[in-house]
Symmetry: C2
Subunit: 291 residues, 2 copies
């Protein structure tokens, strides 16, 4: 009777709320809210928050929205540090046929980066340790793919993207688009990337600190790899020797995305590449596109 009439009791709390949504005209919304209500009530019953703790939670939720503006999205950061962005990405980009794995896009992608010829250097200011990035793009049968558009971008060796240092780095520094030929091969020059912190001066940064967690993302390069007839691959490749490789603040690292960053101590090769030091970094990574 209590349930039928919609009166509240601790025991039937979730059912009372879910029953109230029975007239929802949008079946997907009703389903989503059913799950959210059930899990939220399960969480509250397991946590048994005091009223002061509940108020603290409401204040965190409020502050997280209030710091957002046109260029800052603290709720995405929260989703990131809770592993939820990666989970949503994983759910939406399963690769049962063996395609390369996705990871998060991140906030620093810029449309309209310049298309460059293979072998070009995306580093425009000469700063950082030189690096050659190369590999093949293939389909899941191992056939090289021509006409693949690779959009690449990275932080500099101080951990900043060009858009974070306008006026300090040149526009489109460490960004470029490359298109594969018949052999499916790609290569370009870059610099070794560095780890960097996510914005940690807001509620999410305070939460990370309270949890005893650091805000760093391990060193990586970003790729969007796309070809007609294939799923677009949005991913990173990571430096396994970065000190934060096993503790990415946003959980972006997947084992299959660890690349091998080799130090090539060969002065002649370095000179042939147009580099000034007598050594350079080299990383090979092949991508597999799924249909």
């Amino acid at each position: 009777m209590t349930q039928d009439r919609g009166y509240f009791s601790e025991e039937t709390s979730a059912q009372a709320v879910i029953a109230r949504n029975a007239a929802c005209p949008n079946p997907r919304l009703a389903q989503v809210m059913e799950v959210i209500t059930r899990k939220l009530h399960e969480a509250v019953k397991e946590i048994e928050p005091s009223e002061a703790e509940w108020m603290q939670a409401l204040q965190f939720l409020t502050a997280t929205g209030q710091i957002c503006n046109d260029w800052r999205q603290e709720w995405i950061l929260f989703s990131d540090i809770m592993g939820v962005s990666m989970l949503v990405d994983a759910i939406n980009h399963r690769k049962p046929d063996g395609g390369s794995e996705n990871t998060v896009l991140g906030p620093f992608h810029v449309a309209d980066a310049p298309e460059m010829p293979m072998g070009a250097n995306i580093c425009l200011d000469g700063k950082g340790e030189d690096m050659v990035v190369s590999g093949y793009v293939r389909d899941t049968q191992g056939r090289p793919l021509a006409g693949v558009r690779m959009d690449v971008w990275q932080a500099n060796d101080e951990g900043f993207y060009d858009v974070q240092q306008k006026g300090i780095q040149p526009d489109f520094n460490l960004r470029g688009v490359f298109v594969t030929g018949a052999d499916g091969h790609y290569w370009f020059k870059a610099v070794k990337p560095k780890f960097y912190p996510i914005p940690d001066d807001g509620p999410v940064g305070k939460l990370l600190a309270a949890l005893g967690r650091h805000p760093y993302r391990p060193a990586h390069l970003h790729f969007i790899v796309q070809a007609d007839g294939f799923q677009t691959l949005t991913t990173h490749i990571f430096d396994p020797n970065c000190p934060y490789i096993t503790s990415d603040a946003v959980f972006g690292v997947k084992e299959s995305l660890l690349a091998n960053f080799r130090k090539v101590e060969d002065a002649a090769k370095s000179t042939a590449m147009g580099f000034t030091a007598d050594w350079f970094w080299a990383v090979d990574f092949d991508f597999v596109l799924a249909r």
Copy 2:
């Protein structure tokens, strides 16, 4: 191995995040975040949101914080319409020994309402249908309690509290504090309350509409009943004949809080009460305080 090194996989997503909080110096925060992470990942895995749906959720979360200000708390509203405020209230105010049940405080309580003698009329503007509210305050053994402070407040018969209509209603209209004597009896004059909507012009109101739900709270009177040595009781009494009694937007109704609002058609009694109509409403409700 994947788990040990903290790399992400869909299967072990929650464990990867929880393991990262192992160094948390605050055991209660670690416990709370363990539950939240686990339930959040369970919810995402069950919902399987598209990336567009996830973005919609982030936009809702952002907008809910951004509409908050000094006098509006949209996150409390969200907690209310999800039944979570009532659940937290229930968890913190279990009455195993038979004390009267709590319900939510609501946002319209005002400190320092005037103390009045028993029988006073809390309605200061003569508007609405006259009503007499009376009953006893007892302990769980049935003994009447003296010196009990009862803080009462209600909306007028248009569904507005004085603080929502400053300049229209007199200050402290429909508010008062009464203190019981040796017999534990209380009584005062008031007006029949009316249902009213929670603020529904923000994200929570839009969500209610999308769910096919109305924003109304059924007619009620608020009470805070306190006495030395007893748990303070914060509750309402409800009119079971209100059209929204089985669908309170914030789930505040409990079966034990339904009162009997009787129409007394007795001109002599009404005149004796000082009322002008030849009838009035009467409601009797007894409160039991738990130690």
